[in-house]
């Protein structure tokens, strides 16, 4: 047992780590590699499960897919080395075990024997090396590059033997297994000789094989008889693509489908009250980041940023926008559900008098004018209005510019992107099993997504420490300091983390989802 393992077990025994948190942390370092898969659901096999899904807006290329419709598709036949379930516990999938070296700069993974791709090829270390090299190669259009950058480079993945690979990281990383888990949605394992034609055959290792795929219309899958694990319950699954939520709801209510991959509270208020619908609601770290530009205008004053953050009625927003299906954010990416989050940092609450006082101190008693730029995406325009109204309470007159997402992000380069150049903006950040990715690019002084233009050497140092930290208590200490620093500086406001919601018909059981719009149907059944 490594010291790290021992420390986690000790913490758990001492009662400082709940069982859930314990599992998460133990799984992170491969301690629970032998952990059994979640208890098998008790459904009757052989059903055809029909699912409504957001239409994939582009080609289903694992290397490039980034939107939820595509993610739901990839994980139907594709598998990851590690499965990150809705409980954030890492479970073995194509890897049966993983262990770090002492400073977590090298990780060794043991692969599952006897796994075959749908086309009959055996799965092995060469496939892992090829897949990972592709994902971190800047000459490929890899979507995972933004995650793996600074973590893993091409050539960093080494084949040790047929069933062992070693990852030699660019820098120590205590949470590396998450980077090759289903959390990194692009990282489905493809054969070494993959030719960029995933859409033609969906050649993966998963419990389902492709039956038919029609772009923009739908897809169907059948049970994979040669699956390495327990055979899937459904004989067949059938996905129908929709462009929007409302018709999906109608289809579910009309019993045309058995499940909807993901619903958002907005527009589903009726469905959420429907007793005939089963709601699967899992916490996810999906959040909105309201950035406040720290380098120019009145917002350059920390007190003004704090004042704005103090105007928001967060519980009200939770209730109004999400009917409570969300958790309060405390203006840092540390979701309360992360194990490393320091929950002792006090939650920021609405305090108008304090906000007014800060404005006075900053010399902006009469307020000022500014513009909030954001994208038209789910509840964001509503949030923008709420921020606008909230700012109005302390005299800040906010104009709104709500743009098409494409316009908002522009080229995603400084000086050529409304997102990165705006004084105030609201940006959507997806779910991650660990906060690592979201701690780096959005806040580091040279961060590529640093829309707040936040520059803090202290922060950079703390984050480097956090990422390299291997043991939980060290992570938590650093997390607490990061949380406090971000609260004090307030480069961003993160008002909430909202739940991932999936809806199924009343007779459906065994549907599993992740916060990344991945839906797993091998245990699904209709009663």
């Amino acid at each position: 047992m490594t010291p790290l393992e021992r420390q986690i077990i000790d913490e758990h025994r001492a009662g400082r780590l709940s069982r859930r948190m314990f599992l998460r942390h133990a799984s992170r370092i491969g301690l629970l590699a032998a952990l059994p898969a979640p208890a098998a659901a008790l459904g009757r096999p052989g059903a055809t499960v029909r699912v409504a899904s957001q239409v994939p807006s582009g080609a289903l290329e694992p290397l490039t897919v980034s939107e939820i419709g595509g993610l739901a598709m990839l994980c139907q036949t594709g598998e990851f080395l590690i499965f990150d379930g809705s409980d954030l516990v890492l479970r073995p999938s194509l890897a049966t075990g993983w262990t770090p070296d002492a400073d977590c700069s090298t990780w060794t993974f043991t692969l599952r024997p006897g796994v075959k791709f749908h086309d009959g090829q055996a799965f092995g270390a060469a496939d892992v090396v090829a897949t990972m090299d592709r994902l971190c190669d800047p000459r490929q259009g890899s979507n995972a590059l933004s995650v793996l950058r600074g973590v893993l480079s091409p050539g960093g993945t080494r084949r040790i033997d047929e069933l062992t690979v070693r990852f030699e990281l660019d820098a120590p990383n205590g949470n590396f297994p998450y980077y090759v888990s289903s959390d990194n949605y692009n990282a489905i394992m493809l054969p070494a000789n993959y030719a960029g034609d995933f859409e033609a055959n969906f050649n993966g290792t998963g419990p389902f094989r492709l039956e038919r795929y029609a772009a923009k219309q739908g897809a169907s899958f059948v049970r994979n008889p040669a699956y390495w694990g327990r055979a899937a319950l459904p004989a067949r699954t059938e996905f129908t693509f929709f462009t929007d939520q409302q018709p999906q709801i109608l289809a579910l209510e009309d019993d045309q489908v058995d499940a909807i991959v993901q619903i958002s509270v907005q527009g589903a208020q009726g469905l959420l009250r429907d007793p005939d619908v089963r709601i699967i609601d899992i916490p996810a770290s999906t959040h909105r980041q309201i950035h406040l530009r720290c380098d120019q205008g009145p917002l350059a004053d920390r007190r003004v940023r704090q004042a704005i953050a103090l105007c928001l009625d967060r519980p009200g927003i939770l209730h109004g926008l999400f009917q409570g299906r969300a958790r309060l954010g405390n203006d840092s990416p540390f979701d309360p559900m992360f194990a490393s989050t320091d929950r002792s940092v006090p939650q920021r609450r609405k305090d108008l008098s304090r906000a007014m006082a800060l404005m006075n101190e900053a010399g902006h008693a009469d307020g000022f004018e500014t513009t909030l730029t954001t994208e038209r995406q789910q509840e964001i325009p509503d949030l923008a209005v709420l921020v606008q109204n909230a700012c109005g309470q302390i005299g800040i007159r906010v104009g709104l510019r709500i743009e098409d997402p494409g316009t908002y992000y522009g080229t995603a380069q400084f000086g050529r992107s409304d997102w990165l150049d705006s004084a105030i903006g609201i940006t959507d950040y997806g779910h991650r099993g660990v906060p690592n990715v979201n701690l780096a690019a959005p806040y580091l002084s040279n961060g590529a997504w640093n829309a707040a233009h936040f520059r803090s050497a202290e922060y950079d140092r703390l984050v480097a420490g956090y990422i390299a930290a291997t043991d939980l208590s060290a992570q938590r200490v650093l997390a607490g300091r990061i949380q406090t620093l971000l609260l004090d500086e307030t480069p961003v406001i993160i008002p909430y983390f909202y739940d991932y919601i999936c809806a199924t018909g009343p007779t459906v059981t065994g549907v599993a989802v992740s916060g990344l719009s991945q839906i797993f149907l091998q245990d699904a059944a209709l009663s």
Binding site: I249, Q266, G267, L271, R273, G320, L400, D404
Partner: protein, 274 residues
Amino acid sequence: MTQKLFGSFSRKRTSFLFGLLVLAFWVACAFVGPFVVPQDPYADDLMNALAPPSAEHWFGTDQIGRDVFSRVIAGARPILSVAPAATFLAALCGTMLGLVTGYAGGWVDTVLSRLVEVILALPLIVVALLVLVALGPSSLNATLVIALVFTPIIARTVRSAVLAECKLDYVPAAQLRDETALHIMFVEILPNVLPPIVVEVTVRLGYAIFTVASLSFLGFGIQPPSPDWGLSIAENYGLIVGGYGWTVGFAALATASLVIGVNLVAEGLQDAAR
């Protein structure tokens, strides 16, 4: 024209007067609406979101608890600023263009006509969408785009009216007394083609409202947090299935009444011009 409109009272006038009344109501709302509404149309009330119509909120509240009645009343302003501005601009440019192409004829006419045909070969809304995707959505851009797509339409009407005028002998008569082309276009011809222009512009106003509302609905017109009707419908129409019809129904009725009002007035003018 005025005499004909108001002179004798008949059923035809009834519809005109009714249209005028509706239009006047919304114009009044556009001017004073935001000051007389019972509640701040922008104020959110998250604890009271999606409340059904009640004594306190006559038309209920929307997703973030804003008073729908107040928003419907206040919503007359954005649409009644953008649409008339766009129409006016289009009328101005269209009249110029129509006068010049109709009177000058020749290659000027040929080139412009072909361009107009290209623009008209696409549904207006598609053209407007393309331009707005490129320029970015805003009220100003929507105004410019609608003016842009309506200009050729008005120009076509003006042009055909001018062509008909040019067949009349007072035009050569003016040429025979050495009038400049400008004088002939603006002093001799323009007053005669004014009635069809007025009618066309009123009709266009109806379509401008139509288009602004549609663009706002598609997200390319008036922007949040404006209480604009099309925008409100776009923001809330996902709620219909859940049974929150009041969030969109009243805005829809308001839009319908406004366009119908404008149309009835346009009809009256058209009858009078005939």
